[in-house]
C-alpha cells in the first residue's frame, strides 16, 4: 500500500514482516543492536523477562511448540521448556482464572488470547475476579493478558476488535496499547513487573510493518506516561496504537499541503491515563482532535474529552472533536472495512476544521 492511502495505517520502515510465513526463525532473540519489528520487540521482552525471573511463565492456546497464531512466543518453549510456555485448552475463562490463581501464589503469568476478541469470554473473570482481588481480599494478582488486537487487516467482526473501552471502567485493571516497537518492548517489561493485572493490547497491523532499534540495556517504559510522537503548535491529536501512524501521516500532509503544525500525543497507557500530558498539549495548541480505531459511541474518546473539560476547559479555542470508526460491527470486505475505520484523509479533514475554527 502506498503512502497516503487509506487502506491501512501509514507506517515508517518496512511494510511487511522481516520473515515470510513458514520460514524458520534463525534465532528468536534479535542480534543486539539490529532493527526489530514490533512483534519481535514483544518477543524479546518476553525472553528477557523469562530469563530474568523464573516466576514468569506464559500460557495460552498454541503458544508452545507452535509459537502462537502470530508466532509471538516462537522460540520460548524451546528455550524455557513447555512447563513455562503452556499450551492450554480453548478456555479463556480458565486461562485468565488460572493465571490469577498462580499470580496469587507469587508467579507472574502472561496469558495470550489467540486474538484479543476472545478476551470477551473472560470478561467476568477479569472484571469481577481479577480486578477486585487486591481491593476486596488483599490478594496481589500480578499478571498480563496480551493478544493481537485491532483492524485494518480484513479480519472481519471477530478478529479485529479493540476492547479497551470495555475495560476502561474497571478499577483495578491497567491497560496499555503501544504504537511503536520500542514502546511495545518497554511496556511489556513494565507490565510483567507490575504488581497488578495489565491488559496489553498489541496491534496486529503493526506486528511486522514497523521496525526499530531497541534502546540498549534493560529498557522499561513506565505505565501511565504518554509520549509526544510529534511536536506541533496549531492543533493536537491525541491517539494511541495503529492510528498514531495515521495521525503522523496526516500531520505530514497537513504541514506540507496546508502549513499546519500538528502535535501528536501517543497515549500508550490508557489506564491510568496521563492527564498531565493531555493537559500540556491542550494548553499548547488549544485545539484537540481525538482519534481512535474503536467505534465512536462509548469509545474512549469520551473519557478523554471529559478530562479535558474538567482540567483545561478555559484553554480550549474549539470543541474537542473525534475521528473514530463508525458505529457498526467491523465488516470484512476491504471497501467496507476501509469505509468504517478512520483513515488518514479523515484526520486531515478534521484537523483543518479545528484549525479554521
Amino acid at each position: 500500500m502506498g503512502k497516503g492511502n487509506g487502506g491501512g495505517a501509514g507506517t515508517p520502515g518496512t511494510r511487511r514482516g522481516t520473515r515470510k510465513q513458514g520460514e524458520p526463525v534463525a534465532d528468536s532473540l534479535a542480534v543486539a543492536g539490529g532493527e526489530i519489528t514490533y512483534l519481535e520487540a514483544i518477543r524479546e521482552a518476553l525472553f528477557e523477562e523469562m530469563e530474568r525471573d523464573p516466576d514468569v511463565f506464559c500460557l495460552g492456546e498454541d503458544i508452545g511448540a507452535y509459537g502462537g497464531a502470530f508466532k509471538v512466543t516462537e522460540g520460548l518453549a524451546a528455550r524455557f521448556g513447555e512447563s513455562r510456555v503452556i499450551d492450554t485448552p480453548i478456555s479463556e475463562i480458565a486461562i485468565v482464572g488460572a493465571a490469577a490463581g498462580a499470580a496469587h501464589m507469587g508467579l507472574r503469568p502472561v496469558c495470550e488470547m489467540q486474538f484479543i476478541d476472545f478476551i470477551s469470554c473472560a470478561y467476568d473473570m477479569l472484571t469481577n475476579y481479577v480486578a477486585t482481588a487486591r481491593y476486596r481480599a488483599f490478594l496481589p494478582t500480578p499478571m498480563v493478558v496480551r493478544g493481537p488486537s485491532g483492524g485494518y487487516v480484513r479480519g472481519g467482526p471477530f478478529h479485529s476488535q479493540n476492547p479497551e473501552a470495555a475495560f476502561l471502567h474497571t478499577p483495578g485493571l491497567k491497560i496499555v496499547y503501544p504504537a511503536t516497537a520500542s514502546d511495545a518492548k518497554g511496556l511489556m517489561k513494565a507490565a510483567i513487573r507490575d504488581e497488578d493485572c495489565v491488559l496489553f493490547f498489541e496491534h496486529k497491523y503493526l506486528y511486522r510493518r514497523i521496525k526499530e532499534t531497541m534502546p540498549a540495556g534493560d529498557h522499561i517504559v513506565p505505565i501511565g506516561k504518554a509520549r509526544i510522537a510529534r511536536e506541533g503548535k496549531d492543533v493536537s491529536i491525541i491517539t494511541y496504537a495503529a492510528t498514531v501512524w495515521k495521525a503522523l501521516e496526516a500531520a505530514e500532509i497537513l504541514e506540507r499541503e496546508h502549513g499546519l503544525s500538528v502535535e501528536v500525543l501517543d497515549l500508550r497507557s490508557l489506564l491510568p491515563m496521563d492527564d498531565d500530558a493531555i493537559v500540556a498539549t491542550v494548553k499548547k495548541t488549544n485545539r484537540v482532535l481525538i482519534v481512535h480505531e474503536d467505534t465512536r459511541t462509548g469509545g474512549i474518546a469520551g473519557e478523554i474529552t471529559a478530562r479535558i473539560m474538567e482540567l483545561a476547559f478555559e484553554w480550549l479555542d474549539a470543541p474537542v472533536l473525534r475521528v473514530t470508526a463508525a458505529d457498526v460491527p467491523l465488516p470484512y470486505s476491504p471497501p467496507l472495512e476501509d469505509y468504517v475505520l478512520p483513515q488518514t484523509a479523515d484526520i486531515v479533514v478534521a484537523v483543518r476544521k479545528l484549525a479554521a475554527y
Binding site: G22, I90, S91, A94, F115, C121, G156, P331, L336
Partner: protein
C-alpha cells in the same frame, strides 16, 4: 419450509418410515441407491470446491484465510444428510463443515463470493469464509467465538419444542471447542430442556496445533455424554454411511421427543488449521497414514462399488458434473462486484435502517479505490 429446488442436483432424501433409534445400522439400511450416489456427489463437491478455493487463494483472490476439510468430507456430508429439509431441520456448521452447508443448499457461487469478499456474497461482504446462513435455509452461520453456537442452537430447538414442531437441530463442535464454557452451558441447557438437538463432536485430532491430549484428559469425548445425562455414541467419521446412520438415529430420537444426543465422530484434519499453517507440530508419517488408509472419498468409492455396484463411468460422470458446476460458479463469482462502501452503514438495527455517515467522511472514496491487493492483509485465523 419449502425445499429449494436446485437444477440438476438430486432431490432431498425422503423420510424413512420406521426407524428404530436404538439399533445401529437401521437408518443406513433404508438409503436408496440414488441417495448413496448423492452422498458421493456431495463429498466430491466439497473436496473439489475446496481445491478450487486453494487455487483462488494462491492467486490471492481469496481475502483472508482458507480453511480445509480435506479428509473430513464424510463426517460433514453424512451427518447433514440425516436432516430433513422438508420438515425444516436446521444445522449450525463449523469452519470444516462446508460439506454440510452444501448438502443443506448453500451454493458454490455463494461460497466463492464470500471467500472473495464480494458485494453480492451472502453477507454482502460483512463476514468471511463460510460464516453465513439463516434459519429459512436450514443452516445458521457460525461466529468465530468457538462454542457459542451450542447455546444458540439450544434456543433454536427450544423454539421447536415450545411450538410443538417436529423439527430437529444439529450443531457441530470441534474437539478443541469442547473446552469452552459456552459448549458446556449450551449442551447442559439443551439436555435439561430436552431440546430436539443433536450435538456432534468432530474429533479430528487437533485444535489448531493442539493435540486432543492437551485439550482433555478424557479417554474419549463421548464420555462426556453421561455427565449431561444424554445418550452418547461414537462412530467412524470417515465412513459416510456410518456417520449418516449414527446421526440419523439421533435425529429420529430427537424428533420423537428423546432429547439431546452426543455423537463423537472420529476423523482427521489432514491440512493445517488454515492454509498458512505448515503443520510442523504433526508427527512424521501421521498425515500420510490417514491419506493412504483412511481417505473418506477413496473408502466410499470402494463401498459404492461393492454395495450398490456403482461403475467407474457413473462416478466419473458425477466428478465431471461437479467440476462443471464449480467452473460456472467461479466464473460468476469472479465477475461479482466488491461491496459499495456505504453499504457498511446499513442494517445495524431494524430501526433506524441506516447509520448516518460520520461528518468527516469526505476523502474516503479515493482511499478505498486505491486498495492494496486484499489477500495481502489476510489474517492467520478464521
Amino acid at each position: 419450509m419449502a425445499t429449494r429446488a436446485r437444477g440438476g442436483r438430486p432431490a432431498a432424501a425422503p423420510v424413512p418410515a420406521a426407524l428404530d433409534p436404538e439399533v445401529p445400522g437401521s437408518a443406513a439400511a433404508l438409503l436408496t441407491r440414488e441417495q448413496k450416489l448423492e452422498l458421493y456427489y456431495w463429498m466430491r463437491l466439497t473436496r473439489s470446491l475446496e481445491e478450487r478455493l486453494v487455487n483462488l487463494y494462491r492467486q490471492t483472490k481469496v481475502v483472508g484465510g482458507l480453511f480445509r476439510s480435506l479428509g473430513q468430507e464424510a463426517d460433514a456430508v453424512g451427518s447433514a444428510f440425516a436432516l430433513d429439509k422438508a420438515r425444516g431441520d436446521i444445522l449450525s456448521p463449523l469452519i470444516r463443515n462446508m460439506g454440510a452447508m452444501l448438502v443443506r443448499g448453500a451454493e458454490p457461487t455463494e461460497i466463492i463470493r464470500q471467500y472473495m469478499a464480494k458485494g453480492d456474497s451472502p453477507t454482502r461482504g460483512r463476514e468471511l469464509n463460510i460464516h453465513f446462513g439463516g434459519p429459512e435455509r436450514g443452516f445458521i452461520g457460525q461466529i468465530s467465538h468457538l462454542g457459542d453456537m451450542v447455546p444458540v442452537m439450544a434456543g433454536v430447538t427450544l423454539s421447536f419444542r415450545m411450538r410443538g414442531q417436529d423439527r430437529v437441530g444439529l450443531v457441530y463442535i470441534g474437539d478443541g471447542a469442547t473446552s469452552t464454557g459456552a459448549f458446556h452451558e449450551g449442551i447442559n441447557f439443551a439436555a435439561v430442556q430436552r431440546c430436539p438437538l443433536v450435538v456432534i463432536i468432530e474429533n479430528n485430532g487437533y485444535a489448531y496445533s493442539t493435540p486432543t491430549w492437551k485439550q482433555t484428559a478424557a479417554k474419549q469425548f463421548v464420555d462426556k455424554a453421561a455427565g449431561y445425562g444424554i445418550p452418547g455414541e461414537r462412530a467412524d467419521g470417515n465412513d459416510v454411511i456410518a456417520t449418516y446412520d449414527v446421526t440419523k438415529r439421533a435425529v429420529e430420537r430427537a424428533r420423537r421427543g428423546g432429547g439431546v444426543t452426543l455423537i463423537e465422530l472420529m476423523t482427521y484434519r489432514r491440512k493445517g488449521h488454515a492454509e498458512h499453517d505448515n503443520q510442523s507440530y504433526v508427527p512424521d508419517g501421521e498425515i500420510a497414514k490417514w491419506e493412504e488408509n483412511n481417505d473418506p472419498l477413496a473408502r466410499y468409492v470402494r463401498q459404492l462399488t461393492d454395495l450398490v455396484g456403482a461403475t467407474g463411468e457413473e462416478l466419473a460422470a458425477i466428478d465431471a458434473r461437479v467440476l462443471e458446476e464449480i467452473d460456472t460458479a467461479t466464473d460468476v463469482a469472479e465477475q461479482s462486484p466488491m461491496p459499495e462502501p456505504t453499504d457498511a452503514l446499513v442494517g445495524i438495527y431494524d430501526e433506524p435502517k441506516t447509520v448516518e455517515p460520520l461528518w468527516f467522511r469526505s476523502g474516503v472514496k479515493s482511499a478505498v479505490e486505491q486498495n492494496e491487493r486484499p489477500a495481502g492483509w489476510g489474517t492467520y485465523d478464521g
